[in-house]
Subunit: 219 residues, 2 copies
C-alpha cells in the first residue's frame, strides 16, 4: 500500500512536485479566463514559465491536466460540503441552517473561481463530466437526506425534486454572487438565502399542519 502511491509514475523529486503545483495553478488561471477547449497547452506552459516539453514530463496530455485539477477541487468540495451538511441539526430553525450552508458553500466557490468555470462549461473532457456528475449526485443525496430529515414521511419523488431545485437555485444565486463584489455581493448572498428559505418554509409548515392533523386524529 505504501509503495508507488501513483500508478506506474516515475519517482518524483521535490522539484517535480513543485512544478506540478505550479502547472496546475497556471492551468487554473488559463482555464478560468479562456475555458478548457480554447486553452492551449503551450499557453499553460507559458503561463507557468516552462517549456511545452516540461509540461508533458508531468502530464500525458491536455485532458490529464484538467482531470488532476478537477480531482483536487472536487475532493476539497466534497470535504467542505460534507462537513457543512453533516453539521446541520434538523431541530434548528430552517433560516439558521440555510444561512450557514449558503455561507460555507459560497465561501468555497469565491476562493476557487476555476471550479465553477471548469465544471459548468459545455466543453469539458468526458472523465471530468463523470466525476462532476458523481459529485452532483453525492451532493444531491446529502441534500435529499437533509430535506427528508426536516420533512420525514414526504414522498421520495418530491424530496428528489426539491433537492434538485435547491441545488439549481443555489447555482443560479452563486453565479450572481460571483459576478458582484463588496456590499452588493453580500446583498445577493442575503437574497439567495431568502429565496431558499421562502421556497422551503411553506413545505415545512404544510408538513407540520398535516402532522398535527394526524396526531389529533390518532390519539
Amino acid at each position: 500500500m505504501s509503495v508507488d502511491q501513483e500508478k506506474t509514475s516515475p519517482r518524483r523529486q521535490a522539484r517535480g512536485e513543485r512544478r506540478i503545483a505550479q502547472l496546475l495553478e497556471a492551468a487554473a488561471n488559463v482555464f478560468c479566463t479562456t475555458g478548457y477547449t480554447a486553452s492551449s497547452t503551450n499557453a499553460i506552459a507559458r503561463e507557468a514559465g516552462v517549456s511545452p516539453g516540461t509540461l508533458y514530463q508531468f502530464f500525458p496530455n491536455k485532458e490529464a491536466i484538467a482531470i488532476e485539477l478537477g480531482d483536487r477541487l472536487i475532493h476539497q468540495m466534497r470535504e467542505t460540503t460534507g462537513e457543512a451538511l453533516a453539521a446541520v441539526d434538523p431541530s434548528t430553525p430552517l433560516e439558521e441552517a440555510i444561512g450557514t450552508l449558503v455561507d460555507r458553500f459560497t465561501a468555497f466557490s469565491c476562493q476557487h473561481p476555476v471550479f465553477f468555470a471548469l465544471m459548468h462549461g459545455p466543453d469539458i473532457p468526458g472523465r471530468l463530466t463523470e466525476e462532476h456528475d458523481a459529485l452532483h449526485a453525492h451532493l444531491l443525496g446529502q441534500v435529499e437526506a437533509l430535506i427528508a430529515a426536516f420533512l420525514p414521511g414526504a414522498p421520495a419523488a418530491d424530496v428528489t425534486r426539491t433537492a434538485h431545485l435547491c441545488l439549481g437555485l443555489y447555482k443560479a444565486g452563486l453565479e450572481l454572487v460571483l459576478s458582484h463584489e463588496g456590499s452588493e455581493r453580500d446583498a445577493y448572498v442575503r437574497e439567495l438565502k431568502n429565496v431558499l428559505i421562502r421556497y422551503l418554509e411553506p413545505l415545512l409548515t404544510e408538513y407540520r399542519a398535516t402532522a398535527d392533523l394526524t396526531t389529533t386524529r390518532t390519539p
Copy 2:
C-alpha cells in the same frame, strides 16, 4: 430603402434561401450537441449534406453562422417575451401573472433548445455575446418595470437586484425543466412557479403593509 436588403450581398435565388435555412438548421443541431467552438464548419456542411465550399458561398466565416442563427433566435425571443410581459396586468394576482409568464417563456425555450446552448456557453463569439447581453439587459429592464409596477416606490437598487434574481432563478429552473420530460417536466414547471411566487409574494405584502402604514399616518 427597398434596394439591397442586406449589405453588399449577391442577389439571392430561392434555392439560396433554402440552402441558408438548411445550413442554419444543420448548424443548430451541431452547435446543440457539440457546442460552438468544438463544432467544425466541415461538420456543419456534412450535416447539411453540402460541401464546405457551398457553406462559404453563403457565410463569410464560422462566426457569421452563429451570428445569423443567434440573431434570428434573439429576434423571436424578443417578440415572445415582449408580448408576454406587456400583457401582464399589475392588478392581477401575482400567482396568475407568474404562471402565464413562466408558461410562455418555457414554451419558447422547449421549442428552441439551441438557444439555451448557444447563449450560455462560455465559448460563443464576441458579437453574439454582445447581442445576448443586450437581450438580457432589455429583458432585465422589462422585468424591472414590471416589478416596479407591482411595488411602486421601492428603491431602484432593490428592484434591479430582484429582477436579476428572477431571471437567474428562471434560468436555473429552465435548465431543470429542459432536462426532464412528460409529467416530471410539468412538475418542475410548477415548482419553478412556486419558487418565484414565494420569493416575490413577501415583498408584495411587505410593501402593502408599509403603504397602509403610510396612509394611516397621513390622513
